[in-house]
Structure formats: structure tokens, C-alpha cells
């Protein structure tokens, strides 16, 4: 009797958040990639567009890609008029999505402080701040003393290799728990009828008369008129299945956390010159990143070189962290574009083929909002205005976006 009781409670406790339905022979839309972008698009297709007959095909498990490996930083202080509105809406979406999904996404709008160590970086920040303010987004320039008031553990003396000269403070940014977003969206989508097939790999996409007809997987063929490439770091490989090359190179980006500490860092701090950003998680760890080996590869290896670099950068900026130990480090893939902006396109040149990739190391913050508009695009075949600038065609039209000229690229060397 007692035994059965425990078994029942155990069952109830381990209730699946999404079911494992059998793979059907046809769907109205097939999403390749169970990351944040794929899951968000599936969720919004079902919720806003009435398209519930949708499959998310994930070769490993949901969140296996960048969506489960990122450092969870969200902000809306980008540089260009095409990017700012999307990120601003993305930031406003987190609390709404928390309610809607009935899942605690742990949105923590602690604010981001981006440090400048040169006149060049300050100049670039002036432009960013002006652009953000023009779009009604809170962002301001601060001097070194104000930096210290915001983050008291910063060393604003002239001892660091690159002394702090000021910064850009963006109060509405912060962090969101990345796993919660993946799980919340998956549960929300599944409740609306979306099928999530983990451990299933897409191996080909079939086209007839310029239209998508079906998708090949290692578990069988799926007929569908619409497919989305949301394969993150693997997006060029999926794109190759349909004969489209992308202006993407795949780099490995690394991150790490320290042992847990008492609360000492209450904001996201970042520095382009040091190639370092850090925040303290709610568990007390200092989560920090992020370096990239500049040669493409599909490993998710970490390197001793960057652990050393990270320790040097952190303790140079925040000397009280000296002696704190790193506990874990990991890496993920980043699909980098030449203009640091994503590629979102569809029905061009193949009817029914959509892509949402090239999100590099910044695609977490905007994943949910992009999914919302992409669902509209896929259901109506009309590209919403907010997504139109991200077309793949911009590269051959020589209209690259200006996101590359952000503070990361301005240091004491220019």
C-alpha cells in the first residue's frame, strides 16, 4: 500500500512537460532545430497563427545548442535603427511571456554596465546611447566615478592594464534563465498541439518546381510545404541541403562560472577591451565569458588559454575576485555573420523555405520576439516590416548593417 502511494506521487512529480508523440508523415510546418528560435516560432505559430500541426525536429535534445549554453544576458542597446526596435520589444516580452507560459523565466532586470577604457570606446558609446534614447530605450553615459557607484567592486584607479574611463549604463537589461525559456516554450508549444521530436535529425530537404515538398529525417520522410532552418551553429550545414550558401562562419565561444559567493555583483558588467563580461547568478556564481577561438570548428572544446585570460581580466577589473576558483567551463557554437546581425528570410528563392540564423553570440535575447514575427511570416507569407531588413539579399546588395562598429571593437588600440 505504502509502496504504491510513493510510486503514484513519484509519477505525479515526474509528469512530462511535453509528450513524445509518434512522428507523423506530414505537418503544416517543420522546424529544424529545437533551440530557442525554433521553439519560439513553433509556439507562436500555434498560439497566434492557428497553425497547430507543427513539428520541431531536434537532432539531440532541446537546448543542446546555444540556447542551453549561453550566458543569458539580455539588453536592447544595439547600434542601428533596424536592430534596436526588435531587441527593445524582445526585452519587454520576458515578463509577458513569464505570465503567458506560466513558467518562471527568472527575468532579472539588474541593468548592464559596459565599460570604456579609451576615448574611442567612449565615442562609440555616445553614438549608441543617442540611438537608444532616440528609440525611447533607457541608456546613458556615465563617468568612472559613477561606474564605481553602480558597481562598487570595480577598480577605477590607474592600476588596471586598461584603466576605466567611463561607461554606458543600460538599466532595463539583465539576465533571463536560459533553460527556463527553452522548457517553458516547449511546454507551451506542446500544450497547443506542437510535436517535439528529440533525437531526430534532418538529413535532407526536397524541393519540386521551386517549392519545398518534404523533409528527410533519420526516422523517415515528412511531407510539408514549409520548413524553417533554425539550426543555430549548424545552419550552414542545413542550408547546404537546399543549395544555399550563407555568409556565416562557425566559431566556438567559451564561458565559465566560479564557485558561489555571497552577493557582491548586482549588475551585468562588460568590457570590450578586456573581452570579458560577468554577472553574479542567483546561485552566487560569477558567470563570465566569452572568448572565441578565431578558427571555425564544430567542437565545443574549452581552452586553458582563455581560462587564464578570463581570470586575468576579472581580477584586473574587480581585484576582490583574486583567489576565487572557477568551477566549470563550457563552450557552444556561434554562427557569425560579417555584420553582426542575423539572417531572417523566407520564400526567397525557394517557396516554403525559411531561415532564421546567423545569431552569433547574441541570439538569446531576441529569440522569443523573433519567433513571434517569424510565425506571422511563415503563416501569411508576408514578411513583417520589423524583419524585412534582415534579408539574406543585403549582402549581395552591399547593404551590410552597422552593428559591427560597436564598443567591442574600440579599445585603447584605436
Amino acid at each position: 500500500m505504502l509502496c504504491r502511494f510513493t510510486e503514484n506521487t513519484k509519477k505525479a512529480k515526474n509528469k512530462l512537460m511535453w509528450q513524445r508523440p509518434p512522428l507523423k508523415g506530414s505537418y503544416d510546418a517543420v522546424i529544424i532545430g529545437g533551440g530557442l528560435h525554433g521553439l519560439a516560432t513553433a509556439y507562436f505559430l500555434a498560439r497566434n497563427q492557428g497553425m497547430n500541426h507543427v513539428a520541431v525536429i531536434e537532432k539531440r535534445y532541446i537546448g543542446f545548442g546555444g540556447s542551453g549554453r549561453n550566458t543569458a544576458i539580455v539588453r536592447a542597446n544595439q547600434r542601428t535603427k533596424e536592430n534596436l526596435p526588435l531587441y527593445a520589444e524582445g526585452l519587454e516580452l520576458w515578463p509577458k511571456l513569464t505570465d503567458e507560459l506560466d513558467f518562471n523565466l527568472m527575468f532579472f532586470n539588474c541593468g548592464n554596465l559596459n565599460l570604456a577604457h579609451s576615448e574611442a570606446a567612449l565615442g562609440s558609446m555616445r553614438l549608441l546611447v543617442a540611438s537608444a534614447q532616440f528609440h525611447g530605450i533607457k541608456s546613458e553615459l556615465v563617468d568612472a566615478k559613477q561606474c564605481k557607484e553602480i558597481v562598487p567592486i570595480l577598480d577605477i584607479s590607474d592600476l588596471p592594464t586598461y584603466p576605466i574611463m567611463g561607461g554606458m549604463y543600460h538599466p532595463p537589461g539583465g539576465t533571463v534563465r536560459h533553460d527556463a525559456v527553452v522548457w517553458g516554450l516547449a511546454r507551451g508549444a506542446a500544450r497547443l498541439g506542437v510535436h517535439i521530436h528529440q533525437g531526430t535529425e534532418v538529413t535532407g530537404i526536397n524541393v519540386q518546381n521551386g517549392k519545398v515538398t518534404s523533409v528527410e529525417t533519420d526516422k523517415g520522410k515528412i511531407h510539408t510545404p514549409r520548413v524553417l532552418n533554425a539550426a543555430g551553429g549548424y545552419s550552414t550545414l542545413v542550408s547546404a541541403m537546399i543549395g544555399i550558401r550563407l555568409p556565416v562562419h562557425v566559431l566556438t565561444i567559451q564561458a565559465m562560472v566560479t564557485e558561489p559567493l555571497k552577493p557582491i555583483l548586482h549588475h551585468v558588467v562588460s568590457s570590450g577591451a578586456y573581452h570579458c563580461y560577468a554577472n553574479q547568478t542567483l546561485k552566487g556564481e560569477i558567470a563570465t565569458g566569452a572568448h572565441m577561438d578565431p578558427w571555425p570548428n564544430y567542437t565545443t572544446q574549452v581552452s586553458a588559454r582563455y581560462i587564464k585570460h578570463q581570470a586575468e581580466a576579472l581580477t584586473d577589473l574587480m581585484p576582490c575576485l583574486k583567489g576565487v576558483k572557477f568551477m566549470r567551463s563550457w563552450a557552444g557554437l556561434a554562427d557569425m555573420t560579417p555584420d553582426m546581425a542575423p539572417i531572417i528570410d523566407g520564400n526567397n528563392p525557394i517557396q516554403g523555405y525559411f531561415m532564421d540564423c546567423g545569431w552569433g553570440y547574441f541570439g538569446f535575447k531576441s529569440g522569443a520576439v523573433t519567433g513571434k514575427y517569424l510565425a506571422e511570416f511563415m503563416a501569411s507569407d508576408q514578411c513583417p516590416d520589423i524583419l524585412a531588413p534582415f534579408t539574406l539579399r543585403r549582402y549581395e546588395n552591399h547593404k551590410l548593417m552597422g552593428e559591427i562598429a560597436n564598443p567591442v571593437n574600440y579599445g585603447p588600440w584605436n
Binding site: 549548424y234 550552414t236 550545414l237 547546404a240 550558401r245 550563407l246 555568409p247 556565416v248 562562419h249 562557425v250 577561438d293 578565431p294 578558427w295 571555425p296 570548428n297 564544430y298 567542437t299 572544446q301 581552452s303 586553458a304 588559454r305 560579417p338 549582402y395 549581395e396 546588395n397 552591399h398
Partner: protein
């Protein structure tokens, strides 16, 4: 495992001495009759092969040579002894 690269002049050295120069993508297209699409394809488009690819490296902190090697992008290790194809 950390990356080492074989420079034709200096021999096998630490990968961080080198600068990556991109996947081999054939000769620069002729300017005569060049379309925007061809130029974009040459400048921006990449294959990102998952496997062994031929690619360019520059020995930045060494002799300054430009050369190609083969590397397996799935293991991040140089594949030695394969003739240029």
C-alpha cells in the same frame, strides 16, 4: 586537445601563433563581367564544412608565411600528410 599548425618554414607550432585566413575558396573571380552575386559569393559565403577542409593560415608570430593546411573541423586537429588537391 590544443591546436598545432605545421608551418612550411618553422615546422609544427602552437596554433595561437597563427592567424586563420579562411577556408580555401578558389581563385579571386575576374573583374571582367563580375556580378554583385558572384562578388558576394566570393567575399562572404562560406561552406563551414563539418570534416576535413583545406584552409589558409598566416604565421603572424613567426616567419610571416601564408600557406594552406588541412584540418578536421570536427576534432579541431590538423590532418598531416595529405597532398594538396
Amino acid at each position: 586537445m590544443s591546436l598545432t599548425i605545421s608551418c612550411p618554414i618553422c615546422g609544427k607550432r602552437d596554433g595561437y601563433e597563427f592567424r586563420f585566413g579562411g577556408e580555401e575558396r578558389g581563385p579571386r573571380p575576374d573583374e571582367e563581367g563580375l556580378t554583385h552575386e558572384q562578388w558576394c559569393s566570393y567575399v562572404h559565403m562560406r561552406i563551414n564544412k563539418a570534416g576535413i577542409q583545406r584552409e589558409w593560415w598566416y604565421h603572424q608570430e613567426g616567419c610571416g608565411s601564408w600557406f594552406t593546411i588541412e584540418r578536421d573541423t570536427l576534432t579541431n586537429l590538423e590532418v598531416e600528410g595529405r597532398e594538396e588537391t
